[in-house]
């Protein structure tokens, strides 16, 4: 059996090393991308821990509250008659001087917290310039460090290095409270309970003792919230990473199909001398498994390498949209390796099932017939088209269904149905278009184009699979291109409406999805005294938890927003009317992602606990927002200050008086705030910054698409090689009939060009429908964003041109091989 396997399966693979290598690389790349995204996802977001949660140590519970934990809470916990370990914390971020490096800045009670390495005297603990640093920062005791915290610049001295604590800066609670102007408010209190009693009992006992509105949750609840929030992102990324594998599957199918066609007579002979159907079936499946196994093994190594780049891209997206989290080391463990091999073999074997089954149906009598050509021509275009229509209908039905567990499962099913539908419709498209264009191409490009177009139609089965593979990659490229382009255009238009102020201010301290550094409270008053300024909208943001998911509570000055706001709300109500009702009342507006995630509608009531006081807020309306996937609850600043009386603002929008130039206004603001570390953006530079972040966020999707296209183009190269081998007699004959080697080369190039053209046509059609699914179903159900459809013509034209060019380039080696065939050898082979 092993000998038969070697002779019939391995030997043919070895006889075409270039083609075999291409197929293995295709599988390897497909597997590599999946593993790279898996490893990068784990590393970038795997811990799901916000980086401020470092140094939490062992704790059973954490006390948190929107707007901060009151000092009274700490006092109550401290006076409880239980031996609890209580660790209060203030959490923020600091930017290390001379770099953009952002690290958690944590205030802890150093006297009681007993962090390893946090040594010092009570005087140094209480000093405003004493810090202790995590060992990963590579600083040593005595070093002077320049920090930017919120809008303040600090010069600190490193008093000690904390062992095994990563990148973190620690300060004692007292000075940290002063520097961060918290007035005793804490971000979190970690509570450790003594053993012996169930945690549930402890939770109810402690919760009962806490002031109203303080939330006691098992430690790690925030991590769970982040995990839930990131689930959709990781799910979508994972699905995208499988595209290259799907394309690879088409190519395995094609390889095995070609194998079956070529060895039909051989199979007939085997059957005639006693081989069973199952032997033949297993033989071809084993061929696929070999390709899958070797490809999977290479894929593991390649995936580990690709994970390095991917983790940077994924981490950037996580940081921009979700949570500040330091990427963990990339872990390639045996499970990942096993997954790689399993995926490689499974995809290869499943892809080979149909052709292998067909091979097992070969009758012994075919050993005597030369049924190859007839067999090749046996493509059921009409039947396949009917199936294609049915699948398209199934896709439409699936697209009408809602999400399952917050995941657009039916959306993906619809996409899969569409890809399958397109693959089945491709033979009709290929034969139709190749026939239609054949005469025109011949008239323009001559006999080479005629021969190429005829060959495409004659080998319909194999060319269809190739076109289907390439068009799937092109379609995904186009679909993601359209989706991202539409999203980008939507964001640009949204910013035009939303960003009406002339200048925007925020602390030089680092901002992020869950980081809202603040500016000192006196800034607003200073700005309002400037003669150049017509209005200032101070905005404050708090990171809160709502119904078990992270969200942002924000407050701006409704009066000013109402005066300058242009974008209507989702209900169609003019902004002026909505903001008027927001002013000073317990009314809120919510962003679209928030409304979608929490099923909130205009007219609903939200209950929020602010500074321990539960309050009901009436939802006036919903607005489009693309700045944050967590979702916003927005109220008037006056309302917020009633509940959370901290006047510091996270950012400010400044409106200049008519006639004041942007430069004059900017200069006036900068000189008024010269002593503060505040960044001043013009309207234009803010938009540019936002678009830069946007582009960075989607870089990973383009990288994934590029790999899928690369896999498909390699498949084309492999298939063209096979084609040259199978048609060598034809090329030899052409030389006998007066054809030049250049003409033979041109035929291959025309054929590649035709395949590329057909794939682009099929790809753009499929891509359009997939983009509709992405925009209106998958994105909506995953993230809740409304995206306006837009054709990113320049992106599409350049992407498709590159794919087309790559397809032509894939023909270089096969064309050279065809031109080098020795005619008298190939013509007399039979």
């Amino acid at each position: 059996m092993i000998r038969i396997f070697y002779r019939l399966i391995l030997r043919p693979l070895r006889s075409e090393p270039a083609r075999t290598a291409l197929m293995i690389t295709a599988v390897a790349l497909g597997v590599a991308v999946v593993l790279a995204i898996e490893m990068a996802g784990e590393a970038a977001a795997g811990s799901f821990r916000s980086s401020v949660e470092t140094l939490a140590g062992r704790a059973d519970f954490e006390v948190t509250s929107a707007g901060g934990v009151t000092p009274e809470t700490l006092a109550r916990l401290a006076t409880l008659p239980y031996p609890l370990t209580i660790r209060p914390r203030i959490e923020d971020y600091a930017m290390l001087g001379g770099s953009d490096r952002v690290v958690p800045f944590i205030g802890v009670d150093l006297l009681s917290d007993a962090l390893q390495g946090a040594t010092g005297s009570p005087e140094t603990f209480n000093s405003d310039d004493s810090i202790w640093v995590g060992d990963a920062l590579k600083l040593k005791a005595g070093d002077r460090v320049h920090l930017t915290v919120n809008d303040r610049a600090l010069d600190c001295t490193v008093r000690g290095v904390l062992a095994n604590s990563g990148e973190v800066i620690v300060m004692d609670l007292g000075p940290a409270t002063r520097i961060l102007e918290r007035n005793g408010t804490l971000d979190r209190i970690l509570v450790e309970v003594p053993p012996g009693k169930p945690l549930e009992q402890w939770q109810s006992t402690i919760q009962a003792a806490l002031p109203r509105g303080m939330n006691l949750a098992p430690q790690g609840s925030r991590t769970d919230e982040n995990r839930k929030m990131l689930a959709a992102f990781r799910w979508n990324l994972r699905v995208l990473s499988y595209i290259a594998l799907v394309v690879g599957a088409f190519l395995i199918y094609n390889t095995i199909s070609v194998s079956v066609v070529r060895r039909r007579t051989e199979v007939g002979i085997l059957r005639a001398i006693g081989a069973s159907r199952s032997t033949v079936l297993v033989g071809f499946l084993a061929e696929a498994a070999c390709l899958g196994l070797v490809g999977g093994a290479f894929g593991i190594v390649l995936g580990r390498l690709m994970a390095v780049g991917s983790v940077r891209l994924v981490a950037a997206t996580v940081e921009s949209l979700y949570v500040s989290s330091t990427p963990a080391p990339i872990a390639l463990d045996w499970r990942v390796a096993a997954l790689g091999l399993l995926i490689g073999v499974a995809v290869a074997v499943v892809s080979a099932l149909a052709p292998a089954w067909e091979a097992s149906r070969v009758a012994p009598v075919e050993a005597m017939s030369s049924g190859r050509r007839e067999h090749e021509a046996r493509v059921h275009s009409t039947r396949d088209l009917l199936f294609a229509i049915l699948l398209a209908a199934a896709a439409w039905l699936a697209s009408r269904q809602g999400p399952i567990g917050g995941k657009p499962v039916f959306g993906y099913l619809a996409a899969l149905c569409l890809v399958a539908s397109s693959a089945l419709a491709v033979p009709m498209l290929v034969s139709g278009l190749a026939r239609l264009s054949g005469h025109a191409l011949t008239a323009v490009f001559g006999v080479e184009a005629l021969l190429a177009s005829r060959s495409v139609v004659a080998s319909l089965r194999r060319t269809s699979v190739l076109v289907a593979a390439l068009s799937t990659a092109v379609a995904m490229l186009a679909a993601v291109g359209i989706m991202v382009g539409s999203f980008r255009e939507t964001v640009v238009l949204w910013m035009e409406d939303r960003l009406q102020a002339d200048l925007y201010l925020r602390p030089a301290g680092p901002a992020g999805a869950d980081r809202h550094p603040t500016m000192s409270a006196d800034i607003a008053a200073k700005l309002r005294t400037l003669p150049e300024i017509a209005g200032v909208d101070m905005f404050r943001a708090y990171d809160i938890s709502y119904q078990g998911l992270p969200a942002v509570l924000g407050a701006g000055e409704a009066r000013i927003a109402g005066r300058y706001g242009r974008r209507p709300f989702l209900s169609g109500t003019a902004p002026g009317l909505v903001f008027e009702q927001l002013e000073g009342r317990d009314n809120v507006i919510v962003s679209e992602p928030f409304a979608y995630k929490h099923h909130v509608r205009a007219g609903d009531t939200l209950t929020l606990t602010l500074s321990g006081k539960p309050a009901a807020f009436h939802v006036l309306d919903i607005y489009n927002d693309y700045s944050n996937e967590r979702g916003y609850i927005i109220m008037d600043r006056a309302t917020l200050l009633r509940y959370l009386p901290d006047p510091a603002a996270s950012n400010a929008a400044v409106y200049l008086k008519p006639g004041v130039s942007l430069e004059d206004g900017r200069r006036a603001v900068e000189s008024a705030l010269a002593h503060r570390r505040i960044l001043v953006f013009t309207n234009r530079s803010l938009r540019e910054e936002a678009i830069r972040v946007f582009d960075r966020t989607f870089a990973i999707t383009y990288a994934l698409e590029a790999v899928a296209v690369f896999v498909a183009v390699m498949g084309v190269a492999g298939a063209l090689l096979a084609l040259v081998i199978d048609r060598r007699r034809e090329f030899g004959l052409l030389r006998f009939l007066g054809g030049a080697t250049g003409q033979v080369r041109r035929i291959i190039f025309f054929e590649a060009g035709l395949l590329g053209l057909l794939a682009n046509v099929a790809g753009i059609i499929l891509g359009f429908f997939l983009s509709l699914l992405l925009i209106y179903v998958i994105n909506r159900q995953s993230f809740g964003w409304t995206i306006q459809f837009h054709w990113p013509v320049a992106v599409l034209v350049s992407a498709l041109s590159i794919v087309y060019l790559a397809t032509i380039l894939a023909a270089v080696f096969p064309a050279r091989m065809a031109a080098r065939l020795i005619p008298i050898e190939v013509i007399h082979e039979d």
Partner: protein, 221 residues
């Protein structure tokens, strides 16, 4: 003047161990309009001689002159041009392209040579081999004899001066084979076409004006 001249031509094929001689110092003169039959067993060198005569291969030593031009002195492009203008080939297994219709197969040499009026010339040739009205058919719709007639039409469509036929009746039954031979004889006589035909069959060779027997890469008496 001789249309084809072989002067002490040898041809060796390289194998992994030793070169295998296919032709061994062969000399031959074929004049315009002559019909020569090469007879011999498989492997005697008939096909090699035809390949050299058709400028499809170059001799290891000696000279092959077609219409006075030594093939060894010509570039690849010049050899292609020579074939396009002066040589037509007919094969044992017809070698029609299955993806092209009958008329498209016939016009192929003209299209490859970028000559105008290809379709009309192809239709005229099709008529001349007795297959008028078959132009739109595909090769698989033809019988063996009809396929060989189409192949003959294709070999003649660009009006070559030298027609090389390698076992043209080898895949045909005797009746059909005879009709193909008659057609070749007719072409030779009517167009004063120079024909060299390789065949196993003494009967087939009998229609030629000159019959040369080959053995082990040489002519024998």
């Amino acid at each position: 003047m001789n249309l084809l001249e072989l002067r002490h031509v040898s041809k060796n094929y390289a194998t992994e161990s030793t070169p295998v001689p296919a032709l061994n110092g062969v000399s031959l003169n074929v004049s315009e309009g002559e019909f020569v039959a090469l007879v011999g067993r498989s492997g005697c060198g008939k096909s090699t001689l035809l390949n050299l005569a058709g400028a499809m291969d170059l001799p290891t030593s000696g000279d092959v002159l077609i219409d006075g031009q030594s093939t060894s002195a010509l570039s690849e492009a010049a050899l292609t041009k020579l074939r396009r203008e002066k040589v037509g080939f007919i094969f044992q297994s017809f070698q029609l392209l299955p993806t092209l219709s009958v008329v498209e197969n016939i016009e192929l040499p003209l299209l490859l040579a970028h000559r105008s009026g290809a379709r009309q010339s192809a239709l005229d040739r099709l008529g001349s081999v007795g297959l008028e009205g078959y132009d739109a058919r595909m090769p698989y719709q033809l019988s063996g004899g009809q396929m060989q007639r189409v192949a003959i039409a294709r070999a003649l469509v660009h009006q070559p001066r030298l027609l090389l036929a390698d076992e043209p009746t080898g895949n045909l039954d005797s009746v059909t084979g005879d009709s193909v031979l008659e057609l070749l004889l007719h072409i030779s006589r009517q167009h004063r076409m120079t024909i060299i035909m390789a065949t196993h069959s003494r009967e087939a060779a009998a229609i030629a004006g000159t019959v040369l027997t080959m053995r082990d890469g040489r002519f024998v008496e």
